[in-house]
């Protein structure tokens, strides 16, 4: 059993799996049960200013998309920040933290964009013994219309300003949660860093409409005949989140800024991928909302087995894939592969053929007996056949050795060379 103990920005937790600020962390009852199930930490659902709490809709808050067998692939929500009084939340946080000193407990915050509001709320947290705060600059629905959440997160200057206030009025570690509803995620991350943030967490949810009721012509989920955009999360958003995490991890301005990775993490493998791309820990929500708190146990055993199997510690994994994330122009254009179909593993469905013939490069032949064969002189190695094949490892991409002749181009496979020096690159010619 690998040691999964985590000290993300100095906050200790027995494992790197935290529950994200969301409905699962809205109250003491849930958080105690989450800790009992094994979660290393929780980010308590976002608190707002003192006074009458926000209200939620009384119709559906969630919408979803599904894959085969109604496997939930994407979830969207229009729930707001906590709708329970501030003092109730603070009292519960204090009691829970007293009983679970070894677990991380972060408080998510969202108050109006003025220094006094932030100073007030931070003062109220002083005696909770919480481990840190997370600034919710991410929620794309409801609160944004009131000048909070992603309305702040979309303006780097505001992020920097508010972060600075928080660092000025609190000694707690400060995580800034970023919205993905922005064109370049590196800008808000850099702003958070400039404001003194100890870390960023991302991604928050993505603006979305999950579907349309085709009988009533309203977006889903529908409240009394109307719908609004909600925040999208779950397995479907993972690739978007991975890219944004990697962008921050490898950018010169933000490199080294601790990242708490969020976005569709459902299994240990998802978590390991976020860690490899530079996240120091991960936060989970939809997987717990779909399957319950127990999912963390698979994440713990899976990550532990993986680390043991690769003889790595947790810190060895963090960021290990970052150096291999590059720009397209630096990819090796002399790396030549050809698809190869294993006839013994092939079940003869012909999906590779349909995909290649109809939409790609007409590089697969059907031989008598439904034997599918790649024609190396046509194959551009696009990988589509691999992606559509229902049998894992039936089709593989085989690298051609240097010195071999690519039958498609007639050229000898050479050493590393990329677009920046390619004769077809007009940029190269312009430099001459």
């Amino acid at each position: 059993m690998a040691n999964l103990t985590s000290a993300f920005i100095g906050i200790k937790s027995p494992n790197p799996f935290w529950l994200a600020s969301a409905p699962p962390t809205d109250k003491e009852y849930n958080v105690r049960r989450a800790y009992e199930a094994g979660w290393g930490g929780v980010v308590w659902k976002t608190l707002g200013s003192e006074g009458p709490p926000v209200v939620n809709v009384n119709g559906p808050r969630y919408g979803a998309i599904w894959g085969a067998d109604r496997r939930l692939l994407g979830l969207n929500n229009i729930e707001l920040i906590t709708d329970r009084p501030l003092e109730v939340n603070l009292r519960e946080i204090k009691m829970v933290k007293r009983d679970y000193k070894d677990r991380a407990l972060i408080i998510s915050l969202m108050v109006p964009c003025d220094e006094e509001s932030w100073q007030d709320i931070l003062a109220r947290l002083e005696d909770t013994e919480a481990d840190g705060v997370e600034l919710n600059f991410g929620c794309p629905h409801g609160m944004a219309e009131r000048g909070m959440g992603s309305a702040v997160g979309q303006v780097p200057e505001y992020i920097e300003m508010v972060t600075r206030w928080v660092k000025k009025h609190s000694r707690m570690p400060c995580i800034v949660k970023l919205t993905p509803n922005i064109s370049d995620i590196r800008k808000p991350a850099a702003a958070a860093k400039a404001g003194g943030a100890d870390a960023v967490s991302l991604i928050n949810t993505i603006n979305s409409i999950t579907g349309v009721d085709l009988d009533n012509f309203a977006p889903l989920p529908t409240i009394d005949g109307k719908g609004t955009h909600g925040g999208y999360c779950g397995p479907a958003v993972k690739p978007i989140a991975l890219n944004m995490v990697a962008e921050i991890a490898r950018d010169a301005d933000t490199r080294g800024l601790p990242i708490s990775g969020i976005g569709g993490i459902t299994t240990w493998r998802d978590a390991a991928e976020f860690l490899a791309l530079g996240a120091g820990n991960v936060q989970v929500c939809t997987a717990a909302m779909t399957y319950g708190f127990k999912v963390v146990q698979e994440m713990i055993s899976g990550l532990s087995d993986y680390l043991d199997g690769h003889d790595m510690g947790l810190s060895d994994l963090v960021g290990r894939a970052v150096p291999n994330v590059t720009d397209w122009q630096f990819l090796n254009l002399n790396y030549v592969t050809k698809a190869k179909i294993d006839p013994d593993a092939c079940i003869k469905c012909g999906r590779c053929y349909a995909a290649c013939e109809d939409t790609s490069h007409q590089a697969i032949a059907i031989k008598p007996g439904r034997v599918f064969e790649v024609m190396d002189d046509e194959c551009v190695a696009c990988n589509l056949c691999v992606d559509v094949c229902p049998v894992e490892d039936c089709i593989t991409m085989v690298e051609m050795p240097q010195g071999a002749v690519d039958p498609r181009t007639g050229r000898t496979v050479g050493g590393y060379a990329n677009w920046t020096t390619h004769p077809n690159n007009p940029g190269v010619k312009a430099a001459e």
């Binding site: 012909g350 053929y353 349909a354 059907i366």
Partner: protein, 427 residues
Amino acid sequence: MSNSSQTPGIVAYRLPAAAVAENFAHYSPALDRHEARVAADRCYFCHDAPCVTSCPTSIDIPLFIRQIATGTPDAAAKTIFAQNILGGMCARVCPTETLCEEACVREAAEGKPVEIGSLQRFATDTLMGKGVHPFARAALTGKKVAVVGAGPAGLACAHRLALLGHDVVVMERRLKAGGLNEFGIAAYKATDDFAAREVEWLLKIGGITIETGFELGRDFTMSSLEAQYDAVFLGIGLAGVNTLRLPGEDLSGVRNAVDFIAELRQAEDKSVLPVGRDVVVIGGGMTAVDAAVQSKLLGAQNVTMVYRRAKDMMSASVYEQEHATSAGVTILYGAMPRRIIGQLAVEAVEFAYSDTDVFTLKADQVFKAIGQTLTSMPIAPDGPKLVRRSGRVWAGGDCAAGGEDLTVTAVAEGRDAAEEINAVLRG
């Protein structure tokens, strides 16, 4: 009413009526909407799918399954019916394990094919349950075609002809339409009067008249048909039954399996049907399996199916053989019947594995299921069956040469003959 499985002789009420009804009701339950969606999600939507190739009616299986998966079972049903208007019955009786499901790539991959038959039933039941007919006839041509036999071949032919704008009169020797669907399929495979309901639904296309109790050779002749109609289709099936030609064949208690199966299909309360305590079924096809299994379902104590050749020669599929054995039927292979023993009624049957290896099976009832045959040749023969076309007369289904004797093959042949007739009539 106090009979049991042990009661000697051929007697009724071996099981309570409720138990018999239960036995005949639970062969293959229908998929519900969720089960259908889950099953449909397993289809890979193969290119040039092997399942389609192995379907005698070439139903576009990947398309109809995708239509189920996307929540449009009515569209799925239309895809099926466009190729096979008796897709509802075929979903119940097709030996899918030797056709589409055997060809399914998931059978190769994991030994568990997509449940094509059950999915087809889900789609067709959904549309037929609404009582609507999905097709409308083309402009009428004024041509009239006679169809002889209201079985699967005749009905499929009549429907396609009506669809193409021709008027059709179907002549059926029995008093009820449906042919083997109505009289020849095991009762537990087509419950709730499905065959009759399917015929009624099929006729909603319009332009088809069915004359029951009207027999070729007795009530009309080929030359009268040819004089009155623009074309004739013969789907007369195989009305004759092969005989064993063994001593004792005429003893009481020895009968044709097809008659027993037909009787079962027409009985409301099957517990009233008498069945033996020790039943021996001679034969190795679907008829033999159906007779053996249903004897067991009626409460026979010992049912033995005896086939003269090896297991792999048997025309009943392995799936059907396993179905029989799981129902409690014993199957003996490679045993040739030699004689039926008894005074007035059958008492035993003597079989031989070889000249020196002879045994007898105790029997108070014997079913003969060694194949059916044509009783007459209204047009030229092609081997033991009829040629597929002779002038303006076409033949299809079990009575015609070529193809397996399956409902689905009969449908394909009837449909294709209709297309040919249409081409000829339209010149």
